[in-house]
Symmetry: C2
Subunit: 388 residues, 2 copies
């Protein structure tokens, strides 16, 4: 096992009617806040009314930022920074899914930064003294509710890039599985895909000695398999929604990287970001397309043991030969995504080969990506071609 | 899944030569500390010299409390409180295994309490403003390095009782697996037994819907099985020591209770405490004796599914009938403890039936114990008789 530091500071408030418990958490940190949300689904499902009445009942002043996009844009971040500064707000409350939370992290960092917040994504600036943020989560997917990472899109340059700092970990996250009942089939499926994909990113590293961490990862993969389809078919199945929601957090709160090389592979996420930067595809759907193609591309004699381990421990594959077991495991992953009605190729989402070279170049802007195998621009393009 | 709050604040510094990283953590919290340790093993394995030279090199003043017992006594706690008060110390550094850490938690709480620290164990006092504590861990076992709990023995009343508060979570824990190389076979085995027993306590609840939490629990059980014997046979096997060490933390840092009833069962631990309070038995050894007896006693038609789930998912039992699978699983647990050279009956550790009724009464001092089945005094005595 590699050495590591681990310190998750976010307070999780998980379960039915937990939103009320956020009030003392907010009050200990500020008196006025930015209430940020997305396209309005929280107005339909009652979450907005619940949050606003809690804030009002407790005399917490707030300004609103609405309309944060599914792939949150730097323009929304700039707008949020402006509102926070103009109104001297001292807290940010993100109500929504991962996109809203990610935008809020970038806003939190941007308020105290004397420059354009896109600089964080271009590695030109470091996060210092961000505003504290809190989360009311409405989607089980990105896991951003318990880490310091965010991904932001630039609609002018067609880039989608990550940023992160421990100080961007939310102070608290309210996770009420009931708030995810109204998530539609497509986004429920994309969310489950996103969760299992995070586990894959951490799981597929060359480490042979991180047994305990890999075991926890396998447990979370099995949770996605157990409940992904159930949540699609029975949107108000509390057990399914709750297990997926907590699995989503555990998948990317740091736990699955402990003792492993380089914090996971992440090539597949980098590749998918290039797709959704240009085509504004739902992130989880992009991952369902890219992950099996990545697995097939990087699989070789040296790493087959790891794909075979997943095949055996997660999908119950009984094949003794590692390469054959690995191939069967990859087939099972595809089958799983298919069972969620996710797309399996770029063609399925009407994407052709026009930008595949460009995506390869942009993906490797700061060098080769991945740790299971280092991928250069040509490798990325080859994987995308295989996913056509 | 039941509702829960989760907030682990301890910063984990895990890996080789991580002790140096504790210095800024200490300095941000105080200038003088109580250096507490046990019977002197840290002087033999070099950990004492390492820690003392780090403190001296960094101008951190300290007073020592040595000789903390394997089942830490309230008299040591009182002594520690006295030293902290007399010298106006503002931090406590526990260097050792769970006993040292537990004693330090009670000391930390006792310094600011105007009464006898045994009051915490008798539920007569609540923890307020404890001194901050840090840990340099030398034994993979109790998991106290990442939670706010402690267990203290009273040598006058022959009681062994828990206390706890979130504010007693260590500020940091240095976990260098190399520091556990010198742990002898007996304590390595007892440690692995303690770890898997913690997982059992959380696992065996009536909840049918905490799939993800149960899956994580099974992964940690499998880690104990994979590495327990290896660490005994090859004490300097870093992979084994590291996996066991991190499994020990995950087993009882709160993660395995999430979404489950009442924070786990814990009857077996309560029963074992009664044995080691009188006989000063190594806690893990007591657990190896009591757990199979508890499992056999509480197993019935209603809960067999859970024992069967463990049997199938952890030990690969293929039996379809739940009761039969459960019985086979309990046999496997016994076999595992035997493989670690742990005792399997009270007779194995020269304990007779003299105090079994008394233990039953003392164990249920504050009411029936356990959630898988509520145990009265007579049940506790019956389990102990079955373990003779």
């Amino acid at each position: 096992m590699k050495s590591f530091n681990f310190n998750t500071t976010t307070k999780i408030l998980f379960g039915k009617n937990k939103a009320e418990e956020m009030i003392p958490e907010i009050k200990s940190r500020g008196n006025s806040l930015l209430l940020a949300y997305g396209g309005g689904s929280i107005k339909k499902n009652g979450v907005y009314d619940k949050v606003v009445s809690l804030l009002k009942d407790n005399n917490i002043k707030f300004k609103e930022l609405s309309g944060i996009e599914p792939n949150p844009r730097i323009s929304s971040v700039r707008e949020g920074v402006k509102i926070c500064r103009e109104n001297n707000l001292d807290f940010i409350l993100a109500v929504g899914g991962g996109s809203v939370v990610d935008a809020c992290k970038a806003i939190a960092a941007g308020v105290s930064y004397d420059g354009d917040p896109w600089d964080f994504m271009m590695m030109k600036a470091k996060v210092k003294n961000p505003l504290p943020i809190g989360v009311v989560l409405t989607l089980a997917a990105t896991g951003t509710e318990m880490n310091g990472n965010a991904v932001i899109s630039n609609e002018e340059t067609l880039q989608k890039r990550p940023m992160g700092a421990p100080s961007l970990c939310p102070a608290f996250s309210v996770m009420d599985p009931v708030y995810t009942y109204s998530v539609n089939k497509w986004h429920t499926a994309a969310g489950a895909t996103d969760i299992i994909s995070h586990v894959f990113e951490f799981y597929f590293t060359p480490d042979k000695d991180a047994f305990v961490t890999d075991g926890v990862a396998e447990a979370i993969m099995k949770t996605c398999i157990e409940y992904g389809r159930k949540a699609i078919d029975s949107p108000e199945d509390y057990e399914a929604r709750a297990n997926l929601m907590w699995a989503g957090t555990l998948a990317i709160n740091g736990l699955l990287s402990l003792g492993k090389t380089g914090g996971g592979d992440w090539a597949t996420h980098m590749i998918e970001h290039e797709i959704s930067a240009i085509y504004d595809l739902t992130h989880g759907a992009g991952l369902a397309i890219v992950f099996p193609a990545w697995m097939q591309y990087v699989l070789d004699e040296d790493n087959a043991w790891k794909f075979a381990k997943m095949a055996r421990n997660v999908f119950g594959v009984k094949i003794e030969d590692d390469i054959e077991a690995a191939k069967k495991g990859i087939e099972e992953v595809k089958k799983y995504f298919k069972s969620l009605d996710m797309p399996l190729s770029l063609k399925d989402v009407d994407i052709d080969d026009q930008y595949l070279e460009e995506m390869g170049e942009k993906c490797t802007l700061f060098g080769a990506v991945g740790v299971m195998r280092k991928l250069e621009a040509k490798d990325v393009t080859a994987i995308l071609k295989a996913a056509l």
